[in-house]
């Protein structure tokens, strides 16, 4: 686990750097694809092979310490029976007491970590079941020529695609009356379907549940979600046709629920971040995406190197140190 966290952290930081440096010079789909590398690394609990460029060569000390702490190393007093100790059952009882393994901090942490992960997964599961039931109850089928089913729902504010095993598009009722809006929305959701985003969304949440303690994984989840939407916008415009670019963008803005003119004090910060994300999204739609060959080349090389150094283990990792190797005579002390 430690190796996965260290490696993936380095990888996520590198991806964030590439993404920031080359924001307008690589297509959204390339930006989005970079996150797949991080997702795959987070899903692997160990390195693939030993290599000299592994980042774990630097972090080797951290991993070795973990291995040493996990083996029980007897202290000096436990190795030698005191001279005036009574012989017989009482003595062996005392000896056994001293040898009862106490829970090490690392083990406590492991239990806490797994417990929280389980709670989060159950919570997500319950939410999604509830959402699915709500949709099924309130939906009405919309007659539309598309490879997947489309429904309208009065309970939704935003259109969405949902359902890992039977993907379905849901459109809010008020948007469904506008046939042009339906066309743009359907194109967008179909692109999510084609990119496999339904599965990647589930992966994103499962990884968040497993790595809930890691803020870089949270950052990766938030940023990858944004890049996912931008990549989808790009693909949707390609599907609809370049001449529809601006009408598509306007259709997205039309979906935003309007706020009343009062300000909301502390809550306004979350408003601002919502607006800035949409602003960036509109800027990507407004500017025709172009791949600068040099930027793509540098990004891909950096990504490959990053993958190489984070998917591999440290070279020359020693065998775990056990008490038997440090104190070979301890066996004889236990009479």
């Amino acid at each position: 686990m430690t190796e996965a966290v260290i490696s993936s952290s380095v990888l996520i930081i590198i991806i964030i750097l590439i993404r920031t440096l080359f924001k307008r010079k690589i297509k959204s789909s390339v930006r989005y694809a970079l996150w797949l590398i991080a997702a795959v690394r987070l899903m692997l609990p160990f390195g693939l092979a030993a290599s000299p460029i592994s980042v774990m060569n630097l972090a080797q000390n951290a991993v070795n310490t973990e291995l040493i702490e996990e083996t029980v190393i007897p202290t000096e007093s436990e190795l030698y029976i005191p001279e005036n100790a009574p012989v017989g059952d009482k003595a062996s009882g005392q000896y056994e007491e001293k040898h009862t393994p106490k829970l090490r901090p690392k083990q406590i942490w492991k239990i806490v970590r797994c417990f929280v992960t389980a709670i989060i997964l159950l919570w997500f599961g319950a939410l999604n079941i509830r959402f699915s039931r709500m949709l099924k109850k309130s939906r009405k089928e919309l007659a539309y020529d598309a490879p997947i089913k489309i429904y309208t729902s009065s309970r939704l504010i935003s259109p969405c695609i949902f359902g890992l095993f039977s993907p379905t598009v849901y459109i809010p009722e008020r948007s469904a009356k506008d046939s042009e809006a339906v066309r743009y929305i359907t194109a967008h959701e179909l692109c999510h379907y084609r990119h496999g985003d339904l599965l990647w969304t589930v992966v994103r949440y499962v990884l968040l549940a497993v790595y809930w303690f890691d803020p870089l994984v949270w950052a990766a989840a938030i940023l990858s979600k944004r890049d996912c939407e931008c990549a989808c916008d790009e693909a949707a415009v390609r599907m609809l046709g370049e001449e529809y670019r601006f009408r598509y963008g306007k259709a997205i803005i039309d979906l935003i629920p309007p706020k009343s003119s009062e300000s909301f004090g502390i809550m306004s910060t979350s408003m601002a971040s919502g607006k800035n994300v949409l602003k960036e999204r509109m800027q990507f739609i407004a500017a025709r995406p172009v791949n600068r060959i040099s930027a793509v080349a540098v990004s891909l090389t950096a990504a490959l190197l990053a993958a190489g150094s984070t998917f591999t283990s440290a070279q020359g990792i020693e065998k775990p140190v056990t008490s038997a190797t440090i104190f070979p005579c301890s066996r004889f002390a236990r009479i």
Binding site: K137, F162, I252, S260
Partner: protein, 128 residues
Amino acid sequence: MKDKIKLSSSEWKIMSLLWESEPMTITQMTAALNDDTGWTKHTVITLLKRMKEKNVIDFEQVGNAKHFHTLIKREDVAISETQSFLERIYRGSIGMMVNSMIDQNALSKEDIDELYDILKKAEENRND
């Protein structure tokens, strides 16, 4: 321009239900919303009281039951989606494995106009 009436997302859910099929009794509304929200009758009653004070709904006494109907149209409503991070987790905006086309935060008219401007400027530059 008439100022839009502000509803919380809970109030919006009830309005939405009524716009779909009004009038409805408290029992009917509680049952319809149960799967989605898990609200008790008491919660629904509290919300309806608040909404009646805002003059967005009214009721007719029919025998023992109150039959509720809406007083305003959908176009007159602005949703105040001012939810904190924790609220959004609880309500399920975070955690739902769904690809939504937009984040559900409501924006002010000025902010929405700013977004339209980004597209408009780019379109004008393109046509030049």
